[in-house]
């Protein structure tokens, strides 16, 4: 639902870094999205494609690494992965309740760019 705002934010950060680094084109954007954020990767890709038309980032590939939800049991301290059904029962001691450790990530890891040819030649000289 909030993918539009999230993608807008990704897009402006990507463009910002691309321009700062004299990119002629952005080839790839590496993202990390935690499962619990509820941000749908396919929606982000779709919005990004629309927003990036006619910019340096047009045609860039979005690589999304999904971060699983991990939690630590409040009773015995066991760390375990929480699956899609969001079951908070500890697989070790069967008690209910755990502190969420990961899965809330939402960040841009890196971008891959192509630089202006002129720029490359200058460097070679």
């Amino acid at each position: 639902m909030h993918e539009m705002a999230v993608t807008q934010s990704i897009f402006s950060t990507v463009l910002d870094y691309a321009e700062k680094n004299d990119a002629s084109r952005v080839l790839k954007v590496n993202l990390k999205i935690g499962k619990i954020t509820g941000v749908v990767g396919d929606c982000v890709k779709f919005y990004f494609e629309v927003m990036s038309k006619g910019t340096l980032a047009e045609g860039a590939r979005l690589e999304i690494e999904e971060v699983v939800t991990k939690a630590r049991c409040y009773s015995c301290g066991q760390e375990f992965e929480i699956k899609d059904n969001f079951d908070l029962v500890c697989p070790n001691c069967s008690n209910f309740g755990a502190e969420i450790l990961s899965g809330k990530e939402l960040f841009i890891e890196s971008i891959e760019i192509e630089r202006n040819l002129v720029e490359n030649q200058n460097r070679a000289d």
Partner: protein, 217 residues
């Protein structure tokens, strides 16, 4: 070539939220970010809170809605300054919208600002505004399973208001189950059982809130 960024997607929102928080602190304003589903009773809860604090505290309200000023008009009847933000489709408020609304308030003359977020249990969880407390209202007719269905929202909040407890006997809602579901996510979270209709539990909430404000100021 690869360029490392390692920046939160919400970096811009977070930065402006930090600026808002600084502005609030400098002016001695305590801020609540109130989140809930549509119809959970956010506006009624705000009005009850205003009625209980007016006189000893100077209040202001920001109403966030996709459209209309229905809520703002209701709150305005209490006499406190209200600003309506219509997001025009966006399903949450962000820190930039709040920053733009602030010049409409005389912040020096405010002790408590209540921000009513857009009715939604998904999106507002990600966007901090510069608030002191995130408050979630969960009402009895919505069901006791909501904390498990919207874990991010419930795990990010500071206090939970269980509203419409006067309807407890009319639904399958179980207080025991809801406590278990909430505490399963957040062991130490503060929970209040209230009814904005009968006024039950409001006094406890107000006492606790006043303590938090005094602590922060």
């Amino acid at each position: 070539m690869e360029i490392k960024i390692l920046e939160s997607v919400l970096e811009r929102n977070n930065k402006i939220a930090a600026e808002n928080a600084k502005t609030f602190k400098e002016n001695g304003v305590f801020v609540l970010n109130l989140m809930a589903s549509p119809g959970a009773g956010k506006t009624s809860f705000i009005i009850k809170t205003i009625q209980g604090m007016q006189g000893s505290f100077k209040l202001g309200v920001i109403e966030g809605d996709i459209a209309s000023k229905v809520d703002a008009e209701k709150v305005q009847e209490t006499g406190v300054p209200v600003i309506q933000i219509n997001t025009g489709g966006a399903c949450h408020l962000d820190s930039i919208m709040i920053q733009k609304a602030l010049p409409h308030f005389d912040l020096k003359n405010l002790d408590l600002l209540i921000i009513e977020n857009v009715g939604n249990l998904v999106c507002p969880a990600e966007f901090i505004l510069g608030e002191n407390l995130k408050v979630i209202i969960l009402s009895v007719p919505e069901g006791d399973d909501k904390p498990l269905k919207y874990p991010l929202m419930f795990s990010e909040s500071d206090v939970i208001i269980l509203n419409k407890i006067d309807l407890l006997g009319l639904t399958d809602f179980s207080l025991e189950r809801v406590y278990q579901n909430i505490k399963g996510l957040r062991k130490d979270i503060k929970i209040f059982e209230v009814s904005c209709k009968t006024g039950d539990g409001i006094e406890d909430w107000l006492t606790w809130l006043k303590e938090r404000i005094e602590e922060a100021m």
